[in-house]
């Protein structure tokens, strides 16, 4: 289809623009076809698949130890949680008990990842709304967390730290001290975040009442994570189906009833504080012992189907493994949070303005590799 010609304007005088695949605020290669009436959006149609890497097909040919690495590349900002979901599914199939130490390490790492992911989101939200400076402040704190990751896991973003049975290495000796220090720093910076964006009148105007989605719609569209919780849907997998060490810690499930961009923003801001509190609870009480349960060199899952859900930074990630008893999965399905969250975008952005579309995309917190997989 050509960019010009019939696609420029429909018969009703609607203006058609293509946002993406290369666009500053689509956070990757997402292509949105937007029908406009002046500045007002009539219809949005997402076109996906620009970075489809067929991770599901790849997984069918990899062993149970190997297929986990690819999930780091799905939602690269919650690589830990993706890996954890796969590891938990394999453990469920094997009926392996994970050592208590590994459970706590997994939880700590997942919360650090969530914190850094939300920080990146905070910076990007500012950037999308036209404020460039928050991006740099967010990256300063994120950098500290990435440093911890690098020290313990060996990589900053695609850590591949979870293995079936536990974690790949033990914690780095510096881990506890360094994490405590970083957490203390981050707590001080929450105030700055509020000064720069939360209370800002322009920011509030840009987000309040924008991109509303009701509770019923959020459930029906399969929205999860902070996005659904901002509409009042209780969907925190950490609370509903606790895994790893989440049953040992006290934390709140943040719910808001606003359903708009501002509510989503506030939920994420509050979630960061909850993550900090979870880390503080666990950091001093990491149990001693093994960090990895013994598993066979070649893992073979019994025949059957295994489903495991975890709460990533963006919502519910489901891993569905169908095993036929061989050394590699027969079918793997990743129910990725972004995929469902994105599907609600056309519904949410109807009647909004172009500037709102950017705000909505920013507060859904899209990571396109997770949509395309």
């Amino acid at each position: 289809m050509s960019l010009l010609g019939e696609d420029v304007m429909t018969e009703d005088g609607e203006f058609v623009i293509n946002m993406g695949p290369q666009h500053p605020s689509t956070h990757g290669v997402l292509h949105l076809k937007v029908w406009l009436d002046g500045e007002i959006i009539k219809k949005v149609q997402p076109h996906l698949g620009y970075i489809h890497r067929s991770i599901e097909k790849m997984s069918e040919n990899l062993s149970y130890r190997n297929f986990i690495f690819a999930t780091s590349r799905m939602d690269y900002l919650s690589a830990h949680m993706n890996n954890e979901a796969c590891a938990l599914t394999v453990e469920k199939g094997l009926a392996v008990e994970v050592p208590a130490r590994a459970k706590v390490i997994r939880t700590l790492m997942a919360e650090l990842t969530r914190l850094s992911s939300h920080q990146l989101w905070w910076g990007c939200t500012g950037l999308d709304l036209g404020a460039v400076t928050p991006f740099f402040y967010a990256f300063r704190e994120r950098e500290a967390i990435n440093g911890i990751m690098e020290e313990t896991c060996g990589a900053r973003l695609t850590q591949n730290y979870m293995v079936p049975g536990g974690v790949m290495f033990d914690l780095h000796p510096n881990f506890q001290a360094r994490t405590k220090e970083v957490i203390k720093q981050i707590k001080d910076k929450f105030d700055e975040y509020d000064q720069l964006l939360t209370g800002n009148v322009i920011f509030e105007q840009r987000t309040k009442g924008v991109g509303y989605i009701s509770k019923e719609d959020a459930v029906s569209w399969g929205c999860t994570g902070p996005m659904a919780r901002a509409s009042g849907v209780s969907c925190d997998i950490r609370k509903l189906f606790p895994y790893s060490a989440y049953d040992q810690v006290k934390f709140e499930e943040i719910l808001d009833t606003g359903g708009d961009c501002y509510a989503r923003y506030m939920v994420r801001m509050a979630e960061m504080k909850q993550s900090v509190s979870i880390i503080e609870q666990l950091i001093d009480t990491i149990p001693e012992g093994e960090f990895q349960a013994k598993t066979k060199a070649v893992i073979k899952l019994p025949k059957g189907e295994f489903y495991q859900r975890v709460e990533t930074a963006r919502g519910e990630l489901g891993v569905y493994i169908v095993s036929d008893g061989a050394a590699s999965p027969y079918r793997v399905k990743y129910r990725s949070p972004n995929f469902s969250n994105l599907s609600a975008l056309p519904h949410m952005s109807k009647g909004a303005k172009i500037g709102d579309l950017v705000a909505i995309m920013a507060t859904i917190d899209l990571v396109i590799p997770d949509v395309d997989r």
């Binding site: 996906l48 719609d217 029906s220 399969g222 129910r335 599907s343």
Partner: protein
């Protein structure tokens, strides 16, 4: 409802269905023709009230396709897996459920794209990830791609 109660209730509701309790969740296996009425009841009847479709996928079992729907109720907190066995491999067809759960729209497009299962009455059934006119259905077990590199 617990797994047992759910099974009890559903077997009276739909006597022709078969059940599988081996896994974590209760599985109910139906034919494609039975699927849509069952789904409507599962969503509509207050004792089931499955308002949240959290996973929709398909498994290629070489001789047949198995549509898998993971349902959950936010109120009752029970989970049910509905499976529809599509035996016609050449022309796989099943009714869409995207009018019951809006999230199914994208998930069904994904299944159509990668497995070639046609969803009847789907409002916008197009390829989702792959371009129009892509040869074959990549997630089928018999899919061959000349460009694939064997490692």
């Amino acid at each position: 409802m617990t797994k047992e109660e759910l099974k009890q209730s559903l077997s009276t509701h739909l006597p022709t269905a078969t059940f599988d309790e081996a896994g974590e969740f209760l599985n109910i296996i139906v034919t494609p023709a039975e699927l849509l009425p069952l789904m409507k009841d599962l969503r509509g009847k207050s004792e089931y009230n499955f308002d949240y479709l959290f996973c929709l996928t398909c498994v290629d079992w070489k001789d047949h396709f198995m549509m898998v729907y993971h349902l959950m109720s936010k109120d009752h907190k029970h989970v049910l897996v509905v499976k529809a066995k599509i035996t016609d491999r050449n022309k796989p067809e099943v009714e869409t459920v995207c009018h019951i759960w809006r999230t199914a729209e994208f998930h069904e497009r994904e299944v159509f794209d990668l497995f070639g299962v046609t969803f009847l009455n789907h409002p916008d059934l197009r390829r989702l990830f792959l371009e129009e006119g892509w040869p074959g259905w990549p997630l089928r077990k018999d899919y061959v791609d000349e460009n694939m590199i064997e490692i």
